[in-house]
């Protein structure tokens, strides 16, 4: 475990400003040149309940939340303490200090608000003994009192940040600047004086025997702190998406909100509608009429989108949907991540229906693959789905600002202009042949479209099977021609992805290794870090984060699986859905695969994967301690 990093956890009552405080602190750390990764944990409740945010900051690149933490700023749960509140929250008052305390690393630091946490409650925790055992350094500080002195009790967060900065021997400059940018007037003044007083007090009154300090780092470029949801929204904007329709559902709501806040300012349209069936149907309608459109949801809402999804496919209307997974079935655990909607997304909707599915593995990929999803949808007139989860949606990471410095691409793909329509092949009938089926004319499966209002392009788009003209048809020969053409699109997309773009899959680790780890989606960064550690520990391991779910990257996966003797397939669900896909596409490699699954509502930590690897593939025979399950290869 490297200690040249800070994993700072701020814990308290939700609604207490944990989010904004941590966001600012993360930015301050980023501005001091560090790499940042944030992880947010919150219960499915509006007010009250225990919530925390972790900020991992290091002088080296960070791809995951890391293992455990080494600095805890425990605020009390003010809501649970409100005597007027009737709900019973059990021991939640003390939770910010007690929950997951085992994960505090040896030598770690605890600051708790002695103004909010009762002495009796704290005594129950045997904190002193445990501190001694683990070499923890405990600082009970009356943060509430300090804030109160300035007449602003709610600003105890700021006092906590001031104390933190002192204990970590940080410069206050970046924090002060951020406060100055974000606030003004009395509020700013009060915050600044609380911050400075707390800082000074800690410096003067405590001895810094602990080893945890703010790491040092240096970025050579301007950095921005963005979330996965930001990256998706920004990818869509840069690809010219100016229409979004949705219905709120955690965690998709973040993308919906970001788009809604920006689109109208850009002359775009956002619609919150009656349900998810309508939301996807609106995206289809807008796209049919010639706008670049998207919709999305989480699993439950996506279930409702199944029919409009099929309609888009049959009418060959470009459509981009995003699906942000959370734990299911049904309403499941609304604020907890899981990767269990893969099969839902791959196979939902009736018939031999086909769509393109990408699963970005990190924040940069979320941006790139959103752009790719639009490109493919509009070029090939097919629904594309970006599948991600609550983890990727809500985590923040620093990215070079220049990463976003790219050209917009607002093209409508295979859509004709009125001039082109004049030349389109429809002399014989005098009618535009929207769904050309001749294999010679439509090698890649695409038959260019016209838009309502264009001269010379009128046609009927029907969700029923249709003739090239668009009219409903049940003719067997036509059916086969149209079906084959639509299927050709998937093959052409695979070809384009293979030939014209760098692989969307991410490779890491030791190229010559005989053992591998395979993962998909949001677990990629964590696995990347685990592979790095395994190689540092003397193993020889390679890893791959797979992003193309459909069409499946058959060539690349064959190559990877050929090159290893065994591989661990890491995913966050109970039914090994991605391994199921591997098995379906490349069943002959089945015996090489062992699944490592976690589905308790928390994402993997790199240490768990290291441990899992060592137990299953690395020759160790211990039982796993983490909350993970193994599912060995078929016949094992």
């Amino acid at each position: 475990m490297t200690d040249d990093e800070l994993i700072w956890r701020i814990a308290g009552g939700s609604g207490d400003g944990i989010d904004s405080t941590s966001q600012n602190f993360a930015k301050a750390l980023m501005r001091s040149g560090l790499d940042i990764f944030t992880h947010r944990h919150y219960p499915s409740r509006i007010r009250g309940g225990h919530t925390y945010v972790e900020i991992r900051a290091a002088g080296h690149e960070v791809q995951s939340r890391g293992d455990g933490y080494n600095f805890l700023l425990a605020l009390g749960d003010s809501f649970a303490r409100n005597p007027k509140e009737e709900a019973v929250y059990g021991d939640e008052e003390i939770k910010p200090l007690s929950e997951n305390l085992d994960e505090l690393r040896e030598g770690g630091v605890i600051v708790y608000d002695s103004g909010l946490l009762e002495e009796d409650d704290v005594a129950e925790l045997d904190l002193d003994e445990r501190a001694e055992e683990n070499d923890w350094h405990v600082f009970p500080i009356n943060l509430r009192g300090m804030a109160k002195e300035h007449g602003r009790e709610v600003m105890r967060n700021t006092a906590g940040v001031g104390v933190t900065a002192a204990l970590l021997e940080m410069d206050l400059e970046h924090i002060e600047n951020l406060m100055t940018d974000a606030m003004s007037g009395d509020v700013l003044e009060a915050n600044l004086s609380i911050l400075r007083d707390a800082y000074k007090m800690a410096q003067e009154e405590y001895e810094f025997e602990h080893d945890v300090r703010a790491p040092t780092g240096e970025h050579d470029e301007e950095q921005v702190l963005v979330s996965g949801s930001n990256a998706i929204a920004y990818g869509a904007i840069d690809e010219g998406c100016r229409f979004i329709a949705g219905y709120p559902m955690t965690p998709w709501t973040d993308v919906f909100t970001i788009m809604t806040q920006n689109l109208p300012k850009m002359g775009g349209i956002s619609e919150q509608v009656e349900d998810e069936i309508a939301a996807a149907a609106l995206a289809v309608g807008a796209s049919h009429a010639g706008a670049k459109a998207m919709s999305g949801s989480s699993g439950g809402g996506f279930a409702l989108m199944s029919e409009p999804l099929g309609l888009a496919e049959m009418t060959e209307t470009p459509l981009v949907l995003v699906e942000s997974m959370r734990a299911g079935p049904s309403t499941g655990m609304p604020t907890k991540p899981e990767q269990a909607d893969l099969e839902h997304v791959l196979y939902t909707s009736q018939g031999d229906s086909q769509r393109v599915v990408f699963a970005p593995g990190n924040i940069e990929e979320a941006y790139d693959q959103t752009r790719m999803a639009f490109h493919v949808a509009y070029e090939y007139q097919i629904p594309t789905i970006l599948i991600y989860d609550q983890k990727l949606s809500g985590e923040n990471k620093n990215v070079d600002e220049s990463f976003f410095d790219r050209e917009p691409n607002p093209t409508l793909g295979s859509t004709l202009t009125e001039e082109e329509l004049k030349e389109a092949a429809h002399e014989a009938s005098g009618k535009f042949m929207r769904f050309q089926s001749d294999p010679d004319e439509t090698e890649n499966g695409v038959s260019p479209r016209s838009l309502p209002g264009q001269k010379g392009g009128r046609y009927l788009a029907s969700g029923n099977e249709h003739w090239p003209s668009g009219h409903i048809a049940e003719d067997p020969d036509n059916r086969v021609l149209q079906m084959d053409r639509r299927k050709r699109k998937i093959e052409s997309i695979r070809r384009e992805l293979d030939e014209e773009h760098d692989s969307q899959q991410t490779y890491f680790g030791d190229e010559d290794a005989d053992l591998g780890i395979i993962t998909w989606g949001s677990q990629q960064g964590t696995v990347e870090e685990a592979v790095e550690r395994l190689n540092d520990n003397g193993h020889s391991v390679k890893g791959i984060g797979v992003s193309d779910m459909m069409p499946f990257p058959e060539g690349e996966m064959t190559e990877f699986l050929e090159s290893v003797d065994e591989a661990l397939v890491v995913e966050m669900n109970a039914s090994a859905q991605f391994r199921g896909l591997l098995q379906k596409e490349l069943g002959r490699y089945g015996p090489k695969l062992t699944s490592m699954l976690k589905y308790n509502g928390n994402p993997f930590e790199p240490g768990e994967i290291v441990e899992g690897f060592e137990i299953r593939l690395g020759g160790d025979s211990a039982e796993p301690t983490a909350q993970v399950r193994f599912e060995p290869a078929a016949g094992d």
């Binding site: 229409f243 807008a286 009429a289 600002e401 209002g453 009128r458």
Partner: protein
């Protein structure tokens, strides 16, 4: 120059343009009321000066959903019950299109009932024609939301225990701006009502009575009808919400008693359409959104310009 030259083109429009010779012939049963809607629409569109290429008809599934298979304009034959959300969005993306949605009573009042409430409430600028034959046609005669109480069918063998829906009262309550009922047996009125609905700036809901001789032989109630605008007995102020509500309540009762009142029931000449409201809030583009994709000079905003707050 616009990328959509068919829109707003000034010329004499021949009714036959909506029916080129090689179109598929309707597969509706002989005597089906659906022919009446098709005919009225084909007559109304040229009379309001719309050419086939600036019209987008969006239908659901059912016998009624085939409307645009026999009408040569831009058409979108969607899925059962979902014509309205598709139509709404097409109109938002390109407000210069003439958008007409249509479907059956099962389609519009059953499976798509939720969308109707919300489209009416938002008062989208479009026309919605519901082919009300008081029965499911395409799936062979099952009881629909407008079938009268006691209606017997294979799925309600003892007769329906359900009170039929009052679609027009419901739309009025929800906020639709233009509400009318007409009937296939009254072609002149039907055409006039459709013309008014198309020209109305807001959500126009027409409950169009269409007989289904195949599955609903007993439905004699479509004859005789009384045109309330023509009859002295039914004077009411169509711009008055309360009077309209009373009138609709009365007519929706009478529908099942064998006397059918048709005509224009309500015209809200004050409330702005959804598009107008959204424009006033600064949430609609000044020009049709779609045009922009054809404008090579348009400066597209970039996410890069939004990064300030992430620093």
């Amino acid at each position: 120059m616009s990328a959509f030259n068919a829109i707003g083109e000034e010329r004499e429009i021949d009714r036959d343009e909506f029916t080129p010779g090689n179109e598929p012939q309707p597969t509706w049963c002989p005597g089906c009321g659906d022919f009446g809607v098709l005919k009225a629409l084909k007559q109304a569109l040229p009379e309001v000066g719309r050419n086939p290429e600036e019209v987008l008809t969006v239908t659901g599934i059912g016998c009624s959903g085939k409307l645009n298979s026999y009408l040569d304009s831009y058409g979108f034959h969607t899925i059962h019950g979902r014509s309205l959300p598709v139509a709404r969005a097409a109109k938002l993306a390109n407000p210069e299109l003439e958008v007409v949605a249509a479907g059956g009573d099962g389609d519009g009042y059953g499976i798509g009932g939720n969308h109707l409430i919300h489209t009416a409430r938002e008062n989208h600028d479009m026309t919605y024609i519901v082919f009300n034959n008081e029965v499911f046609g395409l799936t062979k005669g099952q009881t629909s939301p407008t079938s009268p109480k006691g209606h017997k069918s294979k799925t309600q063998p003892s007769g329906s225990a359900k009170t039929p829906i009052r679609p027009l009262s419901q739309s009025l309550n929800a906020g639709a701006g233009y509400i009318a009922r007409t009937a296939a047996v009254n072609p002149n009125q039907a055409k006039e009502i459709i013309k008014e609905a198309i020209e109305y700036d807001g959500f126009a809901h027409i409950d169009f009575l269409t007989q289904c001789p195949t599955w609903n032989k007993d439905a004699k109630q479509y004859v005789p009808y009384i045109d309330i605008q023509e009859s002295d007995d039914y004077e009411h102020d169509t711009t008055d919400r309360e009077e309209a509500a009373r009138m609709m309540f009365e007519t929706e009762n009478k529908l099942y008693e064998g006397e059918v009142l048709t005509g224009r029931y309500y015209v809200d000449d004050e409330s702005p359409s959804y598009q107008a409201e959204k424009t006033a809030l600064g949430e609609m583009p000044d020009e049709p959104l779609v045009e922009r994709y054809f404008d090579d000079d348009y400066e597209w905003e970039r996410s890069y310009d939004l990064l300030e707050r992430h620093k």
